[in-house]
């Protein structure tokens, strides 16, 4: 299943002078597709940053970035360019190689996750049969990246931050996976396309409303867990300025730091999309088949994910930071049990 957009380009290559060997063609297609997705991801990340700063400002009754472009739209692009130029300091006797590899892994993993997300019926890079599981698997690369970053910068605070963020992501991955499980039980397949297909019939057909209380709980658990996975909002302990300076990417500056920052927001967006596909019916329109054809699916997926992002940002600037032991308490002693309850509930409901 290759990107539909790509299909349109085939004609473009027809009239190329020489006949490329077959594999090269597919590679080229992939190259184009990947570059598009990469650009989309980074743009979304920048938009995410922009949104974050604007919304948080408005919440705090201030304007937020206004100078650069109309309402500061170009602000994040300006930041990006600034970071390009900024000096990239590597602390002395830090492990140069690992210092370089860490951001690569983090961003690559996040980007790889985008490949599976279905933006519309056909608009998906690779419609994996085990898409959902793949997303969870890939997110573990981020953990490794965090630890290595913490380690490479030879700074005990950053190492501690890296370890702590790893522990946090790790301990929240369990509730997230369990929450996702109930969805798979209902749909019977891990393919995101199928999941969306299952929720096609309008607002009430969304999984969040099926088997009423349990799936809603599952959605809540998944949303909270994903917040923690992204190290955001109440759980952004590792970057907490008051405690561990900037967490594992204190010693980073310049482009590498940008990569981390970008990865974080891309991850935020990733989580939004996944949550919406799983629970809110992905690209299917809330009004049944009404506005479902043509470009609308993409529109719907963005609407839903941006609304989730808005909630994330909203939570970030309202809730106080959580202490570490409370963090662990939430993940193990609240979310995991409730996730099991959800699975059990759904299971019994389906079996009866």
């Amino acid at each position: 299943m290759i990107l539909p957009i790509l299909n349109s380009e085939i004609t473009f290559l027809q009239f190329l002078p020489f006949d490329l060997p077959e594999p090269l063609i597919s590679i080229i297609f992939l190259l184009i597709g990947a570059s598009i997705i990469a650009v989309v991801a980074s743009v979304l990340a920048l938009v995410g940053v922009y949104l974050e700063r604007k919304i948080s400002a408005h919440m705090q009754d201030r304007l937020g970035p206004m100078e650069v472009g109309p309402h500061g739209i170009a602000q994040t692009f300006a930041d990006a360019i600034k970071l390009l130029i900024k000096e990239d300091i590597v602390p002395q006797d830090a492990d140069k190689l690992l210092h370089f590899i860490a951001p690569v892994m983090v961003f690559a993993a996040t980007l790889a996750a985008f490949a599976v997300l279905p933006f519309s019926k056909t608009l998906v890079v690779s419609d994996l049969n085990i898409g959902l599981l793949y997303i969870i698997a890939i997110s573990s690369f981020v953990v490794i990246g965090a630890i290595l970053a913490g380690w490479a910068s030879n700074n005990k605070w950053s190492l501690l931050g890296g370890m702590r963020s790893a522990a946090q992501i790790v301990s929240f991955e369990i509730p997230a996976s369990l929450a996702v499980l109930s969805v798979i039980m209902i749909v019977g397949s891990m393919n995101l396309g199928d999941i969306v297909e299952y929720q096609k019939g309008g607002f009430f057909n969304w999984i969040i409303f099926k088997y009423f209380p349990f799936n809603f709980i599952a959605f809540i658990i998944y949303f909270i867990a994903s917040l923690a996975e992204v190290n955001r909002a109440p759980f952004d302990l590792p970057e907490a300025e008051s405690e561990l300076i900037a967490g594992f990417h204190t010693e980073y500056s310049g482009m590498k730091w940008a990569m981390f920052f970008l990865a974080e927001y891309a991850n935020m967006f990733l989580v939004g999309v996944v949550a919406s596909t799983l629970f809110l019916g992905g690209w299917s329109s809330p009004f049944g088949d009404f506005l479902n054809s043509g470009p609308f699916p993409v529109f719907w997926i963005f609407i839903k994910s941006f609304s989730l992002i808005f909630v994330q940002i909203w939570i970030r600037w309202t809730l106080p930071r959580v202490r570490v032991d409370q963090l662990m308490y939430v993940s193990w002693k609240v979310l995991t049990p409730f996730a099991f309850v959800a699975i059990l509930g759904v299971g019994i409901w389906m079996v009866l």
Partner: protein, 146 residues
């Protein structure tokens, strides 16, 4: 099915390449005059004292351990979930047993207190902070000191 994985592999490589390109690009463009202080390890501005030797408490390992065990549990749960619709009660009961046993493990770990993180010292309760009179402040400092 192969092509999907192919694209994923490609994405990973592409992601890495994208990052490398950016970093190299920035390396070309950035100004660079490293001097020792700048390169020293950032300690909120203070001079970094002592080496970065920190003795971790075992808490991290236990969390990772529990995560691993539950991760593996989830790995088993996934195929079950996929197949759940077709199998019906029998599979459900089996899974109950499987999850039940592991919940016992969770209960054990929970009971043994491996899940708690080390709580920071208990700060003296807020009313002690009423500084309406001087002696109470003195009292507070003594209680804190003790």
């Amino acid at each position: 099915m192969l092509s999907n994985f192919g694209s994923i592999l490609f994405f990973l490589i592409f992601g890495a390449v994208f990052v490398c390109v950016n970093i190299l690009l920035s390396r070309l463009l950035q100004t660079r005059n490293p001097y020792p202080v700048k390169l020293s390890v950032y300690e909120c501005g203070e001079l970094p004292e002592g080496n970065s030797w920190i003795q971790f408490n075992i808490r991290f390992y236990v969390i990772a351990l529990i995560f691993l065990i539950f991760e593996v549990e989830i790995v088993f749960l996934f195929p079950w979930a996929v197949v759940f619709k077709d199998l019906g009660m029998f599979a459900f009961v089996e899974m109950l047993i499987f999850v039940g046993i592991l919940l016992v493990g969770l209960a054990y770990v929970w009971a043994k207190g491996d899940l708690e993180w080390d709580k920071p010292e208990q700060v003296p309760s807020p009313e002690l902070y009423r500084t309406d009179n001087v002696n109470s402040a003195v009292k507070i400092t003594e209680s804190v000191a003790s």
